[in-house]
């Protein structure tokens, strides 16, 4: 993304690029307006002092609306995860609590997406760099993702996939050690 106020430089550079594109050119037709213009500008380069631009300075009011757009866009990005939550809730409700391949896939997706988003947090922050409310947006973004993963965990819980009950740890209980040795029987 171009830095603000860099439009002029951009124009110069394009012109330069245009000049660079042709190593040389043979002007045979004088009636070519574009060619004339080129020459004029060439002449202009010579005529105008350094730093003169024949284009008008860009309007700063337009700059202002652009800024708002960016801000809006950034908020969009930040609130994206939060907006997904109702959708996720609906999917959760629809998929039910039975353990079969589709609900499992959905839960996996639901759990994986926020985690992925949280892991690529730095890239998102770069996106939000232009915004004034960068930190607030970042917070909203991460809260949204955390909520999404909380939802996924809740779904896992309601499907019984979380080892939260004592029965889930039953297999790890060692048999108790025997303190007494005992034997005997009926008299032979």
């Amino acid at each position: 993304m171009a830095p603000p106020g860099g439009q002029g430089g951009g124009a110069v550079s394009t012109r330069g690029a245009g000049a660079r594109r042709m190593k040389w050119a043979l002007e045979l037709s004088l009636g070519n307006a574009r060619g004339r213009g080129d020459r004029q500008s060439n002449q202009g380069d010579v005529m105008y002092p350094i730093g003169y631009s024949d284009k008008s300075v860009p309007d700063t009011s337009i700059q202002e609306t652009d800024k708002n757009l960016v801000e809006k866009r950034c908020w969009d990005v930040a609130l994206g995860p939060l907006k997904q939550i109702p959708m996720n809730l609906f999917i959760m409700y629809m998929s039910g609590n039975t353990i079969s391949i589709f609900p499992i896939m959905m839960v996996c997706m639901m759990a994986w997406r926020p985690i992925q988003a949280l892991m690529s947090m730095s890239a998102t922050f770069k996106l939000l760099e232009n915004s004034n409310q960068q930190w607030l947006q970042g917070l909203a973004y991460s809260v949204g993702n955390l909520l999404g993963s909380a939802l996924a965990i809740y779904k896992c819980q309601s499907m019984g996939l979380l080892p939260t009950h004592s029965s889930d740890w039953l297999a790890f209980i060692e048999p108790p050690q025997r303190m007494e040795i005992m034997g005997g029987g009926m008299v032979l």
Binding site: H165, S166, I173, Q177, R178, E180, G185, M186, L188
Partner: protein, 1017 residues
Amino acid sequence: MYPPSLVVTFTKKSSVKMAKLTSLFVILLSFFCISEAVFEDQVGKFDWRQQYVGKTLFAHFESNTQSSKKMFVATDKNIFASFNSRTGDLLWRHVDKTGPEGTIDILLLHGQDALMVVGDGRLLRSWDTNIGGLNWEVVLDTGSFQAACFVAIQDTVKLVAVLKKAAISLHYLSNGHQKWVENLPDSDAVQYQAVYSGGEEEVYVLGVVPNSHLTIIAYSLEDGEIIKQRSVEASWLSSVESSCVVVGQGVLMCVDPATLALYTLPIQAEETPEFSQILLQVLYLSPTVSPGFQPVLVSSQPHPARSPLSEFFLQLGPDHHVLLQLNADGYTIAPLRDFQPAFLVSFATTGKKTVAAVMTPKNETVSRHRVVSFINYTAVSKPRWLSPLPFPLQACAINLFSVDSGRRLLDTTVLFPLEPNGGKPHMLYVHAFLKKDDSVGYRVLVQTQDHALTFIQQPGRVVWTREEALADVVTMEMVDLPLTGTQAELEGEFGKKAGKEHGLFPMVLKRLSSQVTLLQAWLAHLWKLFYEARKPRSQVKNEVTIETLSRDEFNLQKMMVMVTASGKLFGIDSKSGSILWKHYLENVQPNAAFKLIVQRTTAHFPHPPQCTLLIKDKDTGLATLHVFNPIFGRKSHIALPALPRPILQSLLLPVIDQDYAKVLLLVDDQYKVTAFPSTKNVLQQLQEMASSIFFYLIRSEHGNLSGFRLRKDLSTERIWEVVLPTEVQKIVAVKGKRPNEHVHSQGRVMGDRSVLYKYLNPNLLAVVTESTDAHPERAFVGVFLVDGVTGRIIHEAVQRKARGPVHFVHSENWVVYEYWNTKSRRNEFSVLELFEGTELYNSTVFSSLDRPHLPQVLQQTYIFPSPITTMEATLTEKGITSRHLLVGLPSGAILSLPKMFLDPRRPEVVTEHSREENLIPYAPEMPIRTEWFINYNQTVARVKGIYTAPSGLESTCLVVAYGLDIYQTRVYPSKQFDVLKDDYDYVLISSVLFALFFATMISKRLAQVKLLNRAWR
């Protein structure tokens, strides 16, 4: 061996199809228990059955031709059976009731008919010997059986006479109808003991008034009228049965041990003569009579229509027989031949010739061939602990003698090899026949004291041997097989002592040599594979011998050590059922109690495994120990403890001595303890642990349960006692838990995912009592759960209006018992389960002394549609696999009943939670499904016990059912989850894999070529 067609092949499909028709319940079941039955092609793959008959009492051969193949035996197990005399296989077998009701009193054979008196004169039966079918059966009048014989009318045998205590009856051979029955005169005073018929018009009954006189009564065959009756003075005679025989033309020959004389008396004589006495001195025999030996007479009556032979044997000592001949005058006796030493004698008749077979000891080598094979055996297999034992090689020779002259017949010697650890010969049954050249040939069946039957034919070839002692297995254990010799060699190389004693260079050499041995073994294996691949499959027999024994990959093959009531021990390979070793313990009383203990397993390599058999003589109470190696059956030469006092019980401790043998404690009648082995190390360990060693004793006759604690000086103190009054109930049985049982899961998961912890008390005892009052209204069965350390009664369940016999299994946290409900007249199963609750009191250690809370007890009862004879639970290595109950039914089937059906938490109303838990809704009736029979049509007659052992595979449990027959199989209670299926298609899978591999290679190559071409374009 196995019949070609089989019925039991159920598939999942069919069971589901059935389920559609029936209720939801059945649907549920079919989900839980998909078919467990074997498929037809699996028959005999990992199971085998051996059928036995028991100790032979009577044996007869079919007919006196060389080609006859049948022989008939009647045994002490109330079995009448027929063998194929060429192979020793059973042709048919009739198993009668156990106990005195089915006792076979006598077996007589004539032509195609086998006559049998059963149950102390209760029934007279006639069998068709060809097919083993019953011709007829008649009920005889009451009275105890004395004797029976065939009666001939005009040279044809038409009748059979049965003598009872107070009556004699004649029956037609053709249909069993009674011709006549007569009461015997004066039967209170006179003991009638013998009946004789020599083809005349009369039948004679001989009775005796002990030490007074002999009574002879002659009955007319026609109408049973008494023709003659006379008594003869015989003050020396106490029993006709034991000391008299009939020889020659109806001459009664008796022997009197007191005066050392023979007495003769013509039975048919009109007048009343006295016994004529012939002193043995006259025959130059008297000085040779063994002191204290009751002389025995042996005679022979080849055909019932003719009179007996005039030659007879007189046995004067355990190894002294004399062949005598009664001269034609009927009064004088001529000795024909003196046989000393001679163990056994027997007469045999073929055609008109009668011969006598005599068995004499022969202290030479058995035969050259046998000796050579013996030497080979010791040379080939020389595991280090095996020292070649110098067996006292001994054999017996059997010879035929002409009866008329007493001359030995040429070329009739047969050698009977005596097993080094076998019993002595006990009975001799001879099958004589005429050869084509009119000489007499014979085969002989020898019964030894260990109930083994050996069939020998000329010239001394053992045709078959049947180990009939296995019909009465008392107890058994399964022992892991050792590693192979090469494996053991390697183990030994890296053993604990190896490194210290040798330097580097010898170690390298040793390593190289063991590698060479491994290579050799591998090459030999390859060669064997190649060699066997050329043979047709039917000929390839995996001969199992002691040398080739080694543990297989999954430890599925084990050594079954079986102890039989006769005192003979067997080592049987569990895979093939072949007997690998046998050892006869000679001086074991018939009613002795046995306890078999595995002291050291095969896991401690340089030390051989060790089993100890505790044998207690019931009469004296004294016990002896027999210590042996369970793999080779050889007696270990270990110093045995002196046991001067009667032993009450034994107790195997998990404590091991420096040689890795577990310590066995023997408790004597003064409650003093003897340790075996009792080295210093062991005694020291015992002193340290004494306060935590407890034992309990139950005296059923006093209704007394008592617990003891060991003191440091190996004496004991009584710490608790429970008395159940014997006038009300008596203790029938007690069972603790099996020491090798593992419980994987400490609790059960509920529907709401909480845990109900099991009450796993290793010291818990289940004591079963039965009421002394047998009245159906008042009879009861009691089950007490007692802690064996503290004597605390954890639970008591009393089943009113119930009667035994109670069969029960105690395992994990449950007890399952079966009884007869006298009110509803049906068999019922009841299950008790114990739970600690939702919290564990102490999850790290279990001490019976610190258990303040009683467990929760749940109980449920079900109706079982069949009586049962025995019950056992499956056992697996880690206890992860679900449990099944193996139930032996009287029909001979063994039912594998999932424990899931015996669960006291089965709900009456199905809820979501119970469904979550996979609980089957409660139904009072317990189903018996035919696909649950693990032995399909291989029924095990009279199942007495079922032994289960874990294998190396968690899914697999080895099962041995024993009774009259022995059946071995494997069961998979949770199906084979850890092995590939039997019919897994290796070929298909590997061919697909290879095809894919090659396809990848080829396509890779093609792709490379294509890329190259494109690059050039």
